[in-house]
């Protein structure tokens, strides 16, 4: 990564469902120094929730494993988020990324996690190997709340 890293944090936590909320709030708190527009912050939280939930629901199905989440603040209001598990992995990544595709339809999974991560970030990459775990990385440029307000005033 060429971009200069201004701030960075790494969290390691077990794949317990109650940590979905913790992960969202941790990322939200960490990027708050950028004073992001609230709608964009909400999108980031949603993308993080999807990534972490997938580790809990799919990667470590019927077990508890470690989720590693790294967040970087890069120059130009850009944030980088990496969510990594060492769980079951994905055999067909293209299929998994297809909207509405889910391996757990009877658990009321909507098959929209990857689609949401993709539409709420500027770039999503998925690296995975069956038995070798999955790493999801997301990049997103955030607008400050100030810039968002100025845009809104211009429109009025």
């Amino acid at each position: 990564m060429k971009d200069r890293i201004l701030n960075e944090m790494t969290l390691r936590f077990p794949s317990l469902a109650e940590n979905e909320r913790f992960a969202r709030l941790a990322v939200s708190g960490f990027v708050s120094s950028l004073d992001p527009a609230l709608d964009e912050l909400s999108e980031i939280k949603t993308a993080v929730s999807e990534g972490v939930t997938n580790c809990i629901v799919h990667a470590y199905r019927d077990t508890v494993g470690i989720i590693t989440m790294q967040v970087r603040i890069l120059e130009g209001q850009r944030i980088y988020i990496r969510i990594k598990d060492t769980g079951c992995g994905i055999s067909d990544i293209a299929a998994a990324r297809t909207p509405l595709w889910t391996s757990a339809p009877d658990e009321e999974r909507a098959g929209l996690g990857f689609a949401i991560m993709e539409s709420f970030t500027d770039r999503l990459s998925v690296r995975s190997r069956p038995g070798g775990g999955t790493t999801v990385t997301m990049l997103r440029t955030l607008r400050t709340r100030k810039a968002a307000n100025e845009d809104r005033n211009k429109k009025v």
């Binding site: 109650e18 909320r21 939280k45 929730s49 999807e50 009321e108 929209l112 949401i116």
Partner: protein, 117 residues
């Protein structure tokens, strides 16, 4: 945080007031009481009031689709009212408007038997 349930016998409507975060962790504890109420009442309509929802991810989409299927099996319909702008965006992404009437504000929602919606 959670769900509050109301029933209006006149219009045979179950109103479920959801609040707090809806994610994979919380969705199970929301699903069970709603389904129990639906199966006890066999309503014609289920209204999900999203006013108090502070966060939702695709587990919320799954929750709505699951309740739609149940209501559909019973010959009834489902309506979602008052999503926040963030929740509304997610519902749109999930194509929820195809299975569920979405009412933006309580003002646009019809009143049922003096019940708050």
């Amino acid at each position: 945080m959670g769900v509050k349930l109301f029933y209006d016998p006149g219009s045979r409507t179950v109103l479920a007031e959801l609040s707090g975060d809806i994610d994979h962790f919380t969705s199970k504890s929301l699903r069970e009481p709603i389904d129990a109420e639906i199966l006890a009442r066999i309503p014609l309509r289920l209204i999900l009031d999203l006013t108090g929802v502070s966060f939702m991810d695709s587990s919320g989409i799954g929750l709505i689709i699951g309740r739609y299927k149940l209501m559909n099996d019973l010959g009834g319909s489902i309506t979602a009212v008052c999503p926040s702008p963030e929740t509304a965006k997610l519902l749109e992404l999930g194509g929820i408007n195809r299975i569920c009437r979405i009412v933006a504000t309580a003002r646009d929602a019809s009143f049922i038997g003096g019940m708050k919606i």
